[in-house]
């Protein structure tokens, strides 16, 4: 491990992996505060989201980190007005350094009763600037980007929500060209109804000790004003214990569908019915349960095409011994369990995962699977001597078509939210991973092979030969990723691009030189 000074306190250290073969790691000088207590309040072990976004449109990705809060016995607030418990925005400078601009951006306040969970990003008012939505146990907050380096709180009773929100994500469910908002709500739980679980020592309670909650679907009017359509679309009718969510048109009917990762129960796949209502079809589609027919602890979710057939597949992060389920899209409205055939089942069986994404980390034209790992129970070793609470991150690298190999990254920690994007615009995919009660880590990918980064409107799909990409900030766990589409292209110096915009229009670009960042706009 070598220490690299950037002249700013944000950088703590840089750890180069052996022989510089893999990624290099940077630990950020941000401290996530979750306040673990003897009461084992469930919220303590479930936070921290993270986002990478270019909030100031300077072409460089910045980092937003969600903090949780201070839990004090008998108090219903979480000291969010104290700097130690602020969320933080770090602006990236040209030299790759990050500067804390939280206060300058007016992001230094959260409602005192908001114990922070996650973050979602989107340009909610189509002004070309990314806005922020923050989820909490307690009130959620919507920040509008004022285009001058600051944000303003534009939360309404609708966007504030209630209860315990976990992940949130933006997508256009009604094909009207703006970004609607989906919010997962985890459990019917509050601190006053906390119970102590486990004998002879206490552990965080299993979700089956508490009732389910409905999720929220908020419709955007195009100006960033949201209307609650949860009831009208049927979303509210189906309660779950939702932690993660991701959005893709899995059945290619032109309308984006919703996958919801539920904890300790069946998963939900909400099929979009022409932008009006949703039908829950997870069982019929083959994604409700694991290969053993049992429910699993769904936490994070990646909804993308891992096998280059143009159809979005699903990977869900779960607890140890459940094996991360990978569902391959059969192209007929159903999915097949592919964790076994890809080798992922055996590789992931001892691990528990949270933040997750399919991305091509070595630009060989095959997407890999990155997972932020750690068990949910901080004393799991006392319950099962073969399991571990702290785990390294893992890159499940796709070596030959359809097979994965495991590469552990970093030191064992309680990794939670994870966000993805090319932070330094070198063509290699990077990740920023939150650590529960710890300091987050930037994982810089090693530049190799050829690539393209494509800036396009949310919901745009791009195809370069057999490689497919999709513009979204959503997915993972409580986190938001770079909107730009990253394509790993092997040795190809030029590619032809087929671009499908969310409005249905297509654009063909021929002979596009690789190893560059381009922007595509609808014709």
């Amino acid at each position: 491990m070598s220490v690299k000074s950037f002249g700013l306190t944000l950088w703590l250290c840089v750890a180069a992996s052996p022989a510089a073969q893999g990624p290099s790691l940077v630990v950020l000088n941000f401290q996530h505060q979750n306040t673990p207590t003897q009461q084992k309040y469930l919220i303590e072990t479930m936070g921290g989201g993270v986002a990478v976004l270019d909030y100031n449109n300077d072409g460089l990705l910045d980092i937003f980190l969600v903090n949780s809060g201070r839990i004090a016995e008998g108090s219903k607030t979480f000291a969010r007005n104290q700097p130690a418990y602020w969320n933080r925005l770090y602006r990236q400078g040209p030299a790759g350094t990050f500067t804390d601009v939280t206060a300058a951006a007016k992001l230094d306040r959260m409602p005192l009763d908001a114990y922070g969970m996650g973050v979602a990003t989107a340009d909610i008012d189509s002004d070309g600037w990314l806005d922020l939505y923050l989820t909490s146990y307690g009130p959620n907050v919507l920040y509008r980007n004022k285009r001058d380096g600051t944000f303003e709180d534009v939360t309404t009773p609708v966007t504030k929500a209630s209860g315990w929100s976990a992940s949130a994500g933006f997508f256009d469910y009604d094909n009207d060209g703006d970004q609607d908002l989906f919010v997962t709500r985890y459990l019917d739980w509050d601190m006053s109804r906390n119970i102590l679980c486990g004998t002879p020592f206490h552990a965080y309670c299993r979700p089956d000790k508490f009732g389910p909650m409905s999720n929220l679907l908020l419709q955007n009017d195009g100006k960033g004003n949201f209307k609650d359509q949860s009831e009208a679309t049927g979303i509210a009718a189906i309660k779950g214990k939702a932690l993660g969510a991701a959005f893709r048109d899995y059945d290619e009917d032109g309308f984006t569908d919703i996958f919801v990762a539920n904890d300790g129960m069946e998963q939900y796949l909400f099929r979009n019915q022409q932008g009006t209502t949703f039908q829950e079809v997870a069982l019929e589609a083959g994604v409700a349960f694991g290969d053993d027919g049992k429910p699993f602890a769904g936490m994070g979710v990646a909804f993308d095409d891992y096998d280059n057939d143009g159809k979005p597949d699903l990977a869900v992060t779960v607890l140890a011994l459940e094996k991360y389920p990978l569902f391959r899209n059969n192209g007929d409205g159903t999915f097949g369990y592919a964790s076994g055939s890809t080798g992922l089942a055996a590789l992931t069986a001892p691990s528990s995962g949270w933040g997750v994404q399919f991305a091509d980390f070595d630009n060989d034209g095959r997407k890999d699977l990155f997972v932020a790992q750690s068990h949910v129970l901080d004393n799991v070793e006392r319950i099962h001597s073969g399991l571990r609470y702290l785990e390294p991150m893992a890159l499940y690298r796709q070596t030959t078509a359809g097979k994965f190999e495991r590469n552990d990254i970093g030191t064992p920690a309680a990794y939670r939210g994870a966000t993805f994007g090319d932070l330094n615009n070198d063509g290699a995919m990077d990740a920023v991973v939150q650590v529960l009660g710890g300091k987050p880590v930037i994982v810089y990918g090693k530049p190799q092979n050829r690539w393209l980064l494509i800036k396009a409107p949310a919901g745009t799909a791009v195809q370069a030969g057999n490689v497919h990409g999709y513009a979204t900030t959503s997915g993972s766990y409580q986190s938001a990723s770079d909107i730009r589409i990253h394509l790993g292209l092997g040795t190809r110096e030029k590619v032809d691009l087929d671009v499908r915009f969310p409005n249905g229009k297509r654009k063909a670009l021929t002979g596009v030189a690789t190893n560059q960042i381009i922007e595509v706009t609808p014709p």
């Binding site: 083959g286 094996k323 369990y337 076994g340 055939s341 080798g343 001597s385 073969g386 359809g402």
Partner: protein, 349 residues
């Protein structure tokens, strides 16, 4: 229980002092003032030293005070004066048990299978204890205390047998005991020791592999199962385990081959049929998968394996474009799952 004192008070020859002490003692006991009750009943035993009820009540109060040392001779004296006091017998047996005289307690506890079972267990008569505790469980099913003592009885009985085992088999037993206790590392070391001493002993690699699987270590499990398969090529269980690991490792062709072999060795093994169906599904052979799952359901209808087979068949039929069959199996899956979930909830309560 205020033994026979109420009846005593109806007798004409009772002295006013005795009546006074009996009434005061009963009243004090009812109000929870055990010290006063003991003092009053003690007066009765002094005034009427041949009155069994006096000693029985004084012993009962000592018992309630958890003063078992005093209660034993007092209750014993009551029974000497009148052997026909069933409640007092049980109380004496319990007091003896509480003071560590389990063998002496046994003759007094015939009215309580639960306490008799515990006394027999503590008295070193585990087989009889198991009979009595199982009888007690008939009236109190899933009682955690009874289950604890029953488990302890089995464990001690096994311990007595195991104590006579020597050599490598003793190490094997210690490994199995470590597995039961959740001490996986200790168990793995013991199994490895057995293998080092007796490499020909069947089942050891299988046990090591299953231990590894419990921690999600498929790499170790696969190696151990492969060794077991070589050692015991006729073992359907070893073949199934090895095939299932290969299936999870993405080695589909080898998995299919091994699971087919396991199925030939033992064609009616549901575990093999389930994983064979999954391997056929992974290989794209929907009819073969369908056949394996249907065969499983012909063997088992209510188990977790059957539940999973319905789910798998639902997926297979959907892919075969047979929606009615798919929905039928999805419905059966849901019903089985619902039934089991309700049962789980009841059990957890």
């Amino acid at each position: 229980m205020t033994v026979a004192l109420a009846m005593l008070l109806t007798l004409a020859q009772v002295t006013p002092e005795l009546r006074q002490a009996a009434e005061s003692g009963m009243k004090a006991r009812q109000s929870g003032d055990l010290a006063t009750a003991a003092a009053e009943f003690r007066k009765i035993t002094q005034m009427a030293p041949n009155l069994a009820a006096g000693f029985a009540n004084l012993g009962a109060v000592y018992f309630e005070q958890k003063d078992y040392v005093q209660s034993v001779p007092t209750l014993r004296r009551a029974l000497e004066l009148n052997a026909n006091l069933p409640g007092t017998r049980t109380q004496l047996g319990t007091a003896l048990l509480a003071t560590g005289y389990a063998v002496e307690a046994i003759p007094y506890l015939e009215a309580s299978p639960e306490l008799l079972g515990i006394a027999l267990l503590e008295g070193g008569r585990e087989r009889e204890a198991i009979d009595r505790l199982e009888a007690a469980l008939q009236t109190k099913p899933k009682d955690p205390d009874l289950l604890f003592y029953l488990g302890q009885a089995h464990s001690r009985l096994a311990g007595k047998v195991f104590a006579q085992v020597t050599g490598v088999r003793a190490v094997q037993l210690s490994a199995e005991a470590a597995v039961v206790a959740g001490r996986r590392e200790q168990a793995a070391k013991a199994y490895a020791e057995v293998i080092a001493k007796r490499p020909d002993l069947l089942g050891m690699h299988l046990a090591l592999g299953e231990l590894a699987l419990e921690s999600g270590d498929f790499a170790t499990a696969g190696k151990e199962f492969e060794k077991e398969v070589k050692l015991a090529p006729g073992s359907a269980r070893a073949a199934w385990r090895y095939g299932a690991v290969l299936l999870n490792q993405g080695n589909n062709a080898a998995a299919l081959s091994e699971l087919r072999r396991a199925n030939q060795l033992q064609p009616d093994m549901p575990e093999t049929l389930l994983d064979l169906g999954k391997a056929e599904l992974a290989a794209g052979s929907l009819p073969n998968a369908q056949q394996a799952f249907e065969k499983l359901l012909a063997i088992e209808q209510e188990t977790l394996l059957a539940e999973n087979a319905h789910l798998q068949l639902s997926n297979v039929y959907r892919r075969l474009n047979r929606p009615a069959d798919a929905e039928r199996h999805a419905k059966l899956f849901r019903e089985l799952r619902q039934r089991r979930t309700v049962s789980d909830v009841k059990q957890s309560k």
